[in-house]
């Protein structure tokens, strides 16, 4: 005979204000098998847990139902409490009467009725609960960092510092990411390259770090502590081990008209190229879309001049497979292309540029060697208009609904740098709000206004019209003086919104992690677990989780590293015992479950079975690898013969719950 205890939590007024908790406890005390039913103000508090523990001991309970908040919140708390007094933790059930009841209802009578029904369902389920024991699985002591920007580099350095091997997979030919393209950083105005490149070199020289540049993750299998990842090393047609990075091939390459991605297409590079002088690894890459040898088979200049013999036109993509204990996602961001906004004339006026393009135009290693010139006629601009919130805070399909967070600060930086270097240039910034929450941020913005005399105008630009004389008419509103302005500008700079990298979504599918509607990775808890994804063993670093500036990115990168190190330190981890298993006698070998399993946990094998009249037969049956199974339950639904079942969520348990609700 079952002896079940029911414990109803008030959660302060969170539950008690909408649900009559005493009535719930009273009603559930009459359910079959229930020997004790109590309510308490905070069941998760120490005294609340003691109440549960004492009840288990005194009444010799065989099952416990806690009517409280979501199991995501405190299921573990109560399971631990039960285990501490000798009750198997999987004999504890949670009835969620907060998120699924009190928080979403207003009427006390109907909310109470629903809470009682939810409690009854949990009691019905706990009748069929069986004790489960969690197994253990070993942890592979190696981490993978996907993305080699400042976030990925910092995470990798911190993990390596703790003594674990770590691999960085970067899709571009060099690590460094967006920070390598930036000229100066706010609010200190130190040179981005000067603080980033030593970190890149440190990563390259660290004995624990392996950099796979020009590579992509193509497949992820396994689970926390034991991921198997396939990395595609794209053919760069240069032997990385031989190339010395001398750059002779890039000087001699006859194909010189390739848009240079690193300079945002503002100048050209050769078909064989090294993205920038401080690239890591400093190895040339041949662009097969432009290389004359690879396209027509006629040229071969680079292979002739290469004294190291590193050029290999026959190189193909290579796939490497490696096991990892933890994966850190650091896929970063890209600025959006503002070409959908016709009013800003970006697509047809070369003097309308994005902020990242301006960054390159002002950079000493940029197309103009650090002198700010108009892209159209290479003259000095004397009037520059900055437009903020281009594509940010938009309610339409052209833009993004969120604030991109970094634009206010980098625009202040650009404005200040231009006024510093070219005092004869008038700088206008059109803003909706200036958002400067950060250490020394508002002081920085005020300096731009007060010290550098940048004209900040509250209002938005409505129309940018290039004129025949090469000037640009900027029509905008000044909301504070309530007038419409026309500024005769030489250049317009659009502070475009930032969006997650395009590779993030397919990666999220491979990693079975969650994303929000904007394709930013979702953290396990917005306040308390900001660097972990909801999938165990996958951590988040940098702007792949949301817009971030460099200090914030570095802080989060180190936090993600700390979490990964915490996992890698363990020799083994406790598995979830709520996994699927198949009843081999009922299995008909149809493969339905294998097809739906997202984790590849199900395999088929031929087994010998005893049949009537002392005969035997070989039958094909499913078997589940419990270490790989994540307990999603897809197979139990797909199985036509009812052979698949999930521990802790068996078909009979779920039917018992449904019956209790419908009774």
């Amino acid at each position: 005979m079952q002896r079940i205890g029911v414990f109803v939590c008030h959660c302060g007024t969170n539950i008690a204000a909408t649900v009559d908790v005493k009535a719930v406890a009273e009603a559930l005390s009459h359910e079959p098998g229930v020997v004790i039913s109590q309510d308490y103000q905070y069941m998760c508090s120490e005294s609340g847990q003691d109440l549960v523990k004492n009840a288990i001991k005194e009444n010799n309970l065989t099952g416990v139902v806690i009517c409280s908040c979501s199991p995501r919140m405190h299921e573990n708390t109560f399971r631990k409490a039960a285990a501490s007094v000798g009750l198997n933790p999987y004999l504890v059930e949670i009835a969620n009467i907060r998120e699924q009841c009190s928080w979403i209802h207003k009427d006390i009578a109907s909310a109470t009725e629903k809470a009682i029904i939810l409690g009854k369902a949990a009691v019905a389920k706990v009748h069929l609960n069986t004790p489960l024991t969690a197994g253990e699985s070993p942890v592979v002591k190696r981490a993978l960092v996907i993305g080699g920007g400042i976030a990925g580099i910092q995470t990798a350095l911190d993990i390596a510092e703790a003594g674990f091997d770590v691999d960085i997979v970067e899709k571009e030919p060099t690590i460094g990411g967006k920070m390598a393209q930036i000229d100066k950083t706010f609010p200190t105005l130190d040179c981005a390259a000067c603080i980033l490149t030593p970190k890149m070199v440190e990563a390259a020289q660290n004995e624990h770090i392996t950099i796979h540049s020009f590579s992509e993750v193509t497949d992820v299998k396994g689970f926390v502590g034991n991921f198997t990842v396939t990395v595609k090393k794209k053919a760069r047609f240069v032997d990385e081990t031989k190339c010395t990075g001398c750059g002779l091939c890039t000087e001699k390459c006859p194909m010189k008209k390739v848009p240079n991605e690193f300079n945002m297409g503002l100048d050209n590079r050769t078909a064989v190229y090294i993205p920038f002088a401080q690239a890591v690894p400093k190895v040339a890459t041949i662009d097969p879309n432009y290389c004359l040898m690879l396209k027509n088979g006629k040229c071969g200049v680079c292979s002739k001049v290469c004294s190291a013999g590193a050029i290999d036109y026959k190189q193909t993509d290579k796939f490497i497979e490696q096991k990892y204990g933890a994966i850190v996602v650091a896929t970063g961001f890209n600025p959006i292309k503002p070409d959908k906004y016709d009013e800003f004339a970006y697509s047809y006026c070369p003097d309308v540029v994005t902020s990242l393009e301006l960054e390159r135009l002002m950079n000493a290693a940029g197309p103009n060697g650090g002198t700010l010139l108009r892209p159209s006629d290479k003259t000095h601009p004397h009037t520059i208009v900055f437009v903020q919130c281009v594509g940010s805070r938009c309610d339409d399909e052209k833009g993004k609904p969120y604030c991109s967070k970094i634009c206010c600060m980098y625009t202040a930086k650009h404005a200040m740098l231009i006024r510093e270097k070219y005092p004869d240039t008038e700088v206008y910034v059109f803003y909706i709000d200036v958002r400067t929450p950060g250490k020394n941020f508002d002081e920085f913005y005020r300096r731009a206004v007060e010290q550098y005399n940048v004209h900040y105008i509250k209002g938005m630009v409505g129309k940018v019209s290039p004129k025949a004389d090469g000037k640009i008419d900027v029509q905008a509103s000044d909301l504070l003086s309530n007038e419409q302005l026309h500024i005769n500008a030489d250049m317009v700079v659009l502070a475009t919104a930032i969006e997650p990298d395009k590779t993030a979504r397919p990666l999220a599918t491979m990693l079975t992690t969650q994303m929000d509607t904007n394709d930013f990775f979702t953290e396990a808890h917005p306040k308390l677990r900001p660097v972990e994804s909801a999938t165990a063993g996958i951590f988040l670093s940098g702007a792949c989780q949301g817009p971030k500036d460099i200090p914030e990115t570095v802080a989060q990168a180190s936090a993600a590293a700390a979490k990964a190190i915490g996992l890698l330190c363990k020799n083994s981890i406790t598995c979830n015992p709520c996994v699927a298993h198949s009843d081999e006698l009922m299995c008909n070998g149809c493969s339905s479950c294998e097809k739906v399993c997202p984790y590849g946990a199900i395999t088929y094998q031929d087994k010998e079975f005893r049949m009537p009249d002392r005969t035997t037969a070989i039958r094909r049956v499913a078997s589940v690898n419990p270490a790989v199974c994540q307990g999603c339950g897809a197979c139990t639904v797909a199985c036509p013969s009812g052979a698949m079942d999930l521990n802790g969520f068996s078909n009979s348990q779920i039917m018992a719950e449904v019956d209790a609700i419908c009774k």
């Binding site: 938009c394 909706i432 509250k458 209002g459 630009v461 409505g462 029509q475 905008a476 509103s477 909301l479």
Partner: protein, 127 residues
């Protein structure tokens, strides 16, 4: 504040004026800006406040070309031209108001004006 008028404008325009984030792009883009006493962003803000009377009495109502540039470019999808149109309809449909005085018709007439237009105008603008 006339609550009925505000509700009426909300319903007829189909616009949620509270979506406005006060960027002023509507007024930045407006070709009739200089001729208006109240500008597109002010229409939106004043309707939100319920301050509709000054708008009803302003010539600005008839300066809007309904070119929809503000509708096209508003980043929040507020559709200011529809708000202005709704205020215009509120003015036009006020009971007992004569917007068209018969004595003034002869001076407005020209040969190209169809008879139908005059009749329609009378139906619409007089009581």
């Amino acid at each position: 504040m006339n609550k009925n008028q505000k509700d009426w404008i909300d319903i007829t325009s189909g616009v949620n004026v509270r979506k406005c984030m006060r960027c002023g792009k509507c007024s930045a883009t407006c070709p009739s800006y200089d001729e208006m006493e109240y500008h597109p962003h002010q229409f939106v803000y004043m309707v939100e406040k319920g301050d509709i009377e000054p708008l009803l009495n302003s010539e600005s109502l008839y300066k809007c070309l309904t070119c929809f540039a503000c509708v096209e470019r508003c980043p929040r999808g507020v559709e200011p031209a529809k708000v202005i149109e709704a205020v215009r309809l509120t003015a036009v449909r006020q009971q007992g108001n004569n917007h068209l005085i018969p004595d003034r018709i002869p001076e407005m007439l020209d040969d190209d004006l169809p008879q139908q237009a005059i009749v329609t105008a009378f139906r619409k603008y007089t009581k």
